[in-house]
Symmetry: D3
Subunit: 69 residues, 6 copies
């Protein structure tokens, strides 16, 4: 019955298989740790354009460059 | 003044008219049940790609197939 | 299969019966308009403290006072 | 850098240790499947009062009773 | 460490520079008011199609027309 | 018309005045950068218990201790 929302940046190639692993992994985790019923666990993945994601006051691409230095 | 977020899968043909009915229906519901002011009720509809929606540990299309059996 | 999140301010007396009406009303609406399966429709209601809700740049209680004038 | 929001009902005894396992499990999953940097992965757990959670058009406690039958 | 989600309609031309200003502005605000660490503040901007945004029981474009009158 | 959700940990003393500054600051920012109408800008602040917030795979208090070292 839990609801899980995963937000990641839209970049590289996130395949349907990888998304399926995220869905299964999170659902199993909630069943293992809290005995939540997998049948009604809902997972929604949001892919966010890079320029719409900020970290440390900068767009994420700028933030990554700064962290490399 | 309420804020409502409706998440559905992006599939079939959800028309602007259907979206308008959702917006009106939810706004009316909150006015009827809780006397919330319709003028400041905000509704946001998110359409999520099918492969990004999980149910029962599977992507939704796989989950639907299993439920048919 | 839809997921709906309703955010309202925590005030007055929202009874379990009213919450049940919101849950039923939204679930029926999605079945009527988009033929969504009610069995897997999830509704989550969040009640937000008044001082944590802003409208028009003011906390909601201040905003309401201004609108009365 | 991902952000994950886990919504569960507030019931039983979810201990800090269980919450820590959810946080670690989700963070590891995103590192394993998508090579996301664990250092900036944020996880937020929301515990929702039972009467505020709906499934199948009913409050969750009613929904569970019906499913038992 | 805060997480901020900004939802706006997708319209006009929101440039990467404007998004960067939103990210910086919100991050600075949280540092100024609450002394939150900017390094781990996450901001996510969602751009919502116009027909998916409702206000006052109408899609936003209809709502704007009514307010002009 | 924008909707902004700010999630912070529940700790220390966040006063109503500080919350009002967040509400005003975000609303002004959206008016300045994107000319959004302040009258219909909604801001919701969520205060999350410390043990429900994870960063870097740890509950936030553990994460902070590690970062000090």
């Amino acid at each position: 019955m839990p609801y899980v929302n995963i937000k990641i940046t839209r970049e590289g190639q996130v395949t349907p298989e990888q998304k399926a692993r995220l869905i299964k992994g999170v659902t199993d985790l909630l069943a293992d740790v809290l005995h939540k019923n997998p049948a009604t666990t809902v997972v929604v993945i949001d892919e966010v354009p890079l320029e719409n994601w900020g970290l440390g006051g900068d767009p994420i691409l700028v933030a990554r460059e700064k962290r490399k230095k």
